[in-house]
């Protein structure tokens, strides 16, 4: 089966993630959309690794997972703090800083 199809899939995933970030209000969901984008990137990497026949892509993918994990830690910490102080996880509520 033509590996390039995976690129289309990953492209689709990435787009869904990106659009999700823009349209969704809940911080957690937004964050998950970002994760989706990261995974789309991973899929791409793996695909290319397959296409190019080198391992580097898959190595990067592993690194990405680790980094993503770290991001989760930091991200959730921030989101939770916000939630506790605002009693809401909607990122639109957090709009004191503007103009």
């Amino acid at each position: 089966m033509n590996p390039y199809n995976y690129l289309y899939v990953s492209g689709l995933l990435f787009t869904i993630g990106a659009v999700g970030v823009v349209v969704r209000r809940n911080a957690i969901v937004v964050f998950m959309c970002v994760e989706l984008m990261l995974n789309a990137a991973n899929l791409t990497l793996v695909t290319f690794s397959r296409i190019n026949g080198t391992l580097d892509g898959q190595v990067v993918a592993f690194f990405t997972m680790v980094v993503a994990a770290c991001e989760v830690v930091v991200g959730l910490a921030i989101i939770v703090t916000i939630y506790r102080s605002r009693r809401s996880a909607s990122i639109d509520d957090a709009s004191l800083l503007k103009r």
């Binding site: 990067v60 690194f63 980094v67 991200g75 921030i78 957090a94």
Partner: protein, 505 residues
């Protein structure tokens, strides 16, 4: 299939490793040292490790090699200069951070909760900020040296994640601070997703993740140009986001305003150096031969950035936001150096980065001094008559503003001159023209602040200038001294940069 154990050039990696070590010690202190002694020890560790790192850097300043870490880290003159600038700026910023007035007592506490009140009464001091700073510095040190995409990505996250947290540590206006942290984080993550996607496509294009590999396949012209195109575009998004170039700038005003001023200073100065260092390396090394693809777009972004930053800054009423927009404008000027894509462009950018970083730290340092009972006063209208209240502080701030505006006898002027001449030399006349025009616009708001401070009468609302702590004072004095020195006798630094600045391939 057997693995070869990695060979690391520890001497060249020493600066990074030292800082990381310091950070780890910091974490341990957080875990085990008694509250009372934490602050002093943390501060000591931080300063010590930064100084040590600098010393280590000085030791190896003349070395150069592509495989400091198996080809993932390129160690060369430009890298040394960038690391040096980052370390100096970081040290000066730490002096500001050391003034605990800026930080919350208990980051986790809900604003206005009994918990927070009590913690304030018990005069707790948040000390996590030091290890976080060190982690960020380590990331920044690595970022401009990375010569493959993994390292680049990891370094990017290494410098970003701590900053996300630090943005949320403000003592006053907690909600704003947390909001800035949230925005910074979400958008940062968003942009790094783009970055990673770009990494993927570059890998797809060149079947290699090292800059050298990418460069060679660009030269070779093998591989699918669409992948290259997407790769460059997506990676650029991630990098331009970090330097706050339009249209990826939106986070910076909010974050600059919300974050604790000391952190803002650190972020604004050090991050810019690191990010531009990385940009310079990747564009000069990996993408150099594909310039006909990205240069026009980058020129456009540069022009839009400098003009937008200057114009919007005019309408700002908050010092920190104003500085944020001015830093956007300066990002535009710095992009001119990237576009120049020449030795003189590189030299100019390095000089500019250092000069601008120093001045920025200094400016934010001054901002931390203007306070009332409820903490820092950043509303410009309340700055009016500052010159009467405390002429010295006002003059220093005015001096930094003049430096930003690029008035002769300040470092800003030399920087502006060299970077624009480099850009024009490489044939981009429009950069020069729009640069000059936006400088004119920029002068408009810098001068407005000066007028406000010196020619308006003070408003009696308790706004006052606190006696700076010894460390803060040091920072302000040193930064202003350097800014003046680089304006009057820039020759030594420039010659040094000229002689040593190059990218090893």
């Amino acid at each position: 299939m057997e693995f070869t154990a990695p060979v690391l050039n520890y001497a060249q990696l020493a600066p990074i490793l030292i800082v990381l070590g310091g950070a780890l010690i910091g974490v341990l202190i957080e875990a085990f040292a008694p509250r009372a002694s934490r602050h002093s020890s943390q501060l000591f560790i931080t300063i010590a490790s930064l100084v040590a790192a600098f010393a280590a850097l000085v030791r190896v300043r003349n070395q150069a090699s592509v495989d400091a870490a198996m080809g993932s880290v390129a160690f060369d003159g430009a890298g040394v200069l960038l690391q040096g600038s980052i370390l100096i700026i970081a040290l000066l910023s730490v002096f500001l951070i050391a003034d605990q007035e800026n930080f919350t007592a208990l980051a986790a506490a809900v604003p206005g909760s009994s918990e927070e009140r009590e913690s304030l009464q018990r005069d707790l001091r948040v000390t996590e900020v030091y290890p976080l700073t060190l982690f960020a510095v380590a990331g920044m040190l690595l970022f401009p040296l990375s010569s493959d995409l993994i390292t680049l990505f990891v370094a990017l996250e290494m410098l970003s994640l701590p900053l996300y947290l630090m943005a949320g540590l403000s003592r006053r206006r907690r909600l704003m601070s947390q909001e800035s942290a949230l925005k910074y984080f979400l958008l940062g993550a968003f942009s790094s997703a783009f970055f990673l996607f770009g990494v993927a496509y570059l890998y797809g294009y060149s079947a290699s993740i090292t800059f050298a590999g990418i460069q060679s396949s660009v030269i070779g012209g093998s591989g699918n140009d669409v992948f290259l195109l997407l790769g460059i575009a997506f990676i650029s998004v991630g990098l331009l986001f970090k330097v706050g170039a339009v249209p990826f700038h939106a986070w910076s005003p909010d974050v600059y305003q919300g974050a604790p001023t000391a952190v803002t200073g650190f972020m604004a100065a050090a991050t810019k150096v690191a990010a531009f260092g990385a940009i310079l390396r990747i564009y000069y090394v990996a993408f150099a031969n594909a310039q006909w693809q990205w240069r026009p777009a980058l020129i456009l972004i540069a022009i839009v950035t400098m003009v937008f930053g200057s114009v919007v800054a005019i309408a700002q009423r908050d010092v920190k936001r104003m500085l944020a927009y001015s830093s956007i404008a300066h990002a535009g000027f710095l992009l001119a150096g990237v576009i120049a894509l020449s030795k003189s462009g590189l030299d100019a950018s390095l000089f500019y980065l250092f000069a601008y970083g120093i001045a920025t730290v200094g400016a934010f340092g001054v901002v931390t001094l203007v306070r009332d009972s409820a903490g820092e006063v950043t509303d410009l209208n309340r700055w009016s008559g500052l010159g009467k209240r405390s002429p010295l502080v006002a003059s220093v701030f005015a001096f930094f503003l003049l430096a930003f505006a690029g008035i002769p006898l300040t470092s800003g002027f030399i920087g502006k001159f060299s970077i624009f001449s480099a850009a024009y030399e490489s044939g981009s006349t429009w950069i020069l023209i729009s640069g000059v025009l936006s400088s004119a616009i920029a002068a408009f708001f810098y001068i407005r602040v000066i007028v406000l401070m010196f020619f308006k009468d003070p408003v009696e609302d308790g706004t006052s200038v606190v006696i700076p702590s010894a460390l803060t004072l040091t920072t302000i004095v040193v930064t202003s001294a350097i800014t003046l020195l680089l304006g009057v006798f820039p020759a030594p630094l420039i010659t040094f940069i000229e002689s040593s600045a190059f990218f090893i391939r």
